[in-house]
């Protein structure tokens, strides 16, 4: 066990790991982590395996592994389910929804955080206080009024002039900008940047907009990536606002929700739908794995 000798001191140190007691603690931890990993992964494995079973098998064999795990069989299950489920349109819609959400989030919250941090016009204090206080406000209080707002946007009352936002992506798109947490993340990121950047650029004749796009925004890449991961994955799981606003077949989370109570969809096909719906977030995870697991170190939001 060469590794033990070089261990950085923590709860366990390299000297502990020479003793039986220390070794026992270490391998007990290892076993517990292995157990945690198994618990974390088994439901997912079961779902994938069940997706590859035949309908008959599910209701008769009650086994964890499918009988036939040949390559041809798996390919045929995937293509057959994809044909049956008709998820293609909802996938495209969800991608469109998520990209719109991201654009609005970055522009609205990015600008907001920038102004609160750097330009500080009159009234900044008031706006900032409001932003902080609404950060932790439970959303229940505004659930119904928000819905009423969608019916004749942007008016709170039906004065015959508003636009009905139902059956459009606008409630989610615009709502994506109403994220006070993101505003504060951006503000903190801009706070950490020296004002001399701004001044230097302005002396060189840069406008406020130029400063923002050419200098400030690129320097907050970690926050942008953090928000991108969050917003892009969330579109594949958020189903509450879409449930109120959209028709049942439009976005993938809604389709998943609807198919669960569809008697015509067999369990194996449904599980394949769960697998399909999980693929896009896993792609995002695979791309940004290092950043996500590295513990994105921008969590400190000062109130």
């Amino acid at each position: 066990m060469k590794r033990f000798g070089n261990k950085q001191s923590g709860v366990l140190s390299s000297s502990d790991l020479k003793t039986v007691y220390g070794k026992t603690l270490y391998w007990t931890s290892f076993a517990l982590l292995a157990f945690a990993a198994v618990v974390a992964i088994v439901p997912t494995i079961w779902t994938i395996l069940t997706a590859f079973k035949d309908t008959q098998e599910i209701y008769e064999a009650f086994s964890f592994f499918p009988k036939d795990m040949s390559w041809e069989k798996m390919v045929s299950r995937v293509s057959e389910s994809w044909k049956n489920l008709q998820l293609g349109d909802s996938f495209i819609n969800t991608i469109v929804l998520s990209l719109g959400n991201l654009a609005v989030r970055i522009v609205v919250c990015g600008f907001g955080g920038y102004v609160l941090s750097k330009l500080k016009p009159t009234g900044t204090k008031l706006i900032f206080t409001l932003v902080v206080w609404t950060m932790m406000m439970p959303s229940q209080i505004r659930m119904v009024p928000n819905y009423i707002g969608y019916l004749h946007f942007p008016f709170a009352f039906d004065w015959g002039m508003g636009v009905n936002l139902l059956d459009t992506f606008w409630p989610m798109w615009l709502g994506s900008g109403a994220d006070t947490f993101a505003v504060l993340l951006f503000k903190n990121a801009f706070d950490a940047l020296s004002n001399s950047y701004v001044e230097a650029a302005k002396i060189d004749g840069c406008t406020d907009y130029g400063v923002f796009f050419k200098i400030m925004l690129p320097l907050t890449t970690p926050v942008i990536i953090y928000e991108s991961i969050g917003v892009l994955s969330a579109a594949w799981s958020d189903f509450f606002t879409p449930l109120l606003v959209l028709d049942k077949n439009v976005v993938t989370p809604l389709v998943i929700y609807r198919l669960a109570s569809d008697p015509e969809v067999q369990m194996n096909t449904y599980f394949m739908a769960l697998v399909f719906a999980s693929i896009p977030p896993f792609i995002i995870f695979a791309i940004f794995q290092k950043r996500i697991l590295g513990g994105i170190n921008i969590g400190g939001v000062k109130g």
């Binding site: 140190s13 439901p43 609205v108 016009p121 609404t134 932790m136």
Partner: protein
């Protein structure tokens, strides 16, 4: 207000800054106004009004509140919600903490463990909820009953059992949320100073003593913040009962927020006013915890 002495060029810059600042900030202010500030205020105002579906009729005093609070299901639902919070601590509090601490000490297969333990957090929430709905399926097609069947035990009703529904949902939520909380703890473990550990080794403290006297004090702040955040978060639970149990069986897993959803969107327009009254009630309960959270947050930040 006192008059500020102004110098001309400075004033000019300030005025331009003001205009540009407000133009850049306008989208945020408008969206926050339309999606958070106005609906919060209107929700409170309209909770005192009769509603016909989504149209405001006339002032009715505390009628909506009386209807919500005197409903026979109100107290059971409130108790259910408290049970969600309690169970979320019994089941979900220690695992992320211990996993983070152990992961920080382990040298073998560390990266692999991290990826595997993180997978539940990657699966989209709605897909994971329905996955667990099938894990809990009351016949042997469900994974849990399949295992029981293999062991020769009797199959269980799981989510159809009123005594288990809340626990079952909480097990799911803890499974789904473990990795997120774990990463939070893991990040704060990185800031515990190695010198402290080394000094304690020289002083002859064993591993468990070090865990208690060095790791614990360093983590206390973030743990406490997380506890309050968990109370606030779980108290608002809604999507899980909506997707997994529809609040059943017989209302046994109905939470306050799910009840609000029922009032607001599933009552044929009869309960809109009550939904907003219930929203205000939830707000009043949670504001206590929220203020405590902010106070705590400031205190914890001052310490570091």
């Amino acid at each position: 207000m006192t008059k500020k002495p102004t110098i001309k060029p400075k004033k000019l810059i300030t005025r331009r800054n003001n205009l540009n600042g407000w133009i850049l900030m306008l989208p945020m202010v408008v969206i926050l106004y339309l999606f958070i500030w106005r609906p919060s205020v209107m929700g409170t105002v309209w909770s005192f009004f009769n509603m016909k579906a989504y149209t405001v009729l006339d002032f009715c005093g505390i009628d909506n509140y009386r209807k919500v609070l005197t409903h026979t299901q109100f107290l059971p639902t409130l108790w259910n919600t408290v049970q969600y919070v309690l169970w979320s601590f019994v089941i979900g509090f220690l695992p992320p903490l211990f996993v983070a601490i152990m992961l920080n000490e382990i040298l073998h297969f560390k990266g692999g463990f991290r990826v595997l333990i993180y997978t539940p957090a990657v699966i989209p929430g709605i897909a994971a909820m329905l996955m667990w709905y099938y894990m809990y399926y009351p016949d042997q097609t469900g994974l849990l009953n399949m295992i029981l069947g293999k062991l020769g035990a009797e199959t269980q009703q799981w989510l159809n059992n009123p005594d288990f529904a809340i626990i079952g949902i909480t097990i799911y939520s803890s499974w789904k949320g473990l990795a997120g909380t774990m990463l939070l703890y893991y990040a704060s473990l990185q800031s515990v100073s190695v010198e402290l550990y080394e000094a304690s080794i020289i002083d002859g403290a064993g591993p468990l003593k070090r865990l208690w006297h060095i790791t614990r004090p360093a983590m206390e702040g973030i743990i406490l913040l997380n506890v309050v955040r968990q109370i606030i978060g779980v108290f608002q639970i809604m999507e899980q009962p909506l997707a997994m149990t529809s609040g059943g069986p017989n209302g046994a897993s109905t939470s306050l927020s799910y009840q609000l959803y029922q009032y607001g969107f599933n009552s044929g327009g009869q309960g809109t006013g009550q939904a907003m009254a219930l929203g205000v009630i939830i707000f009043l309960i949670l504001i206590v915890f929220t203020i405590f959270y902010f106070w705590l947050n400031r205190k914890v930040e001052d310490r570091y």
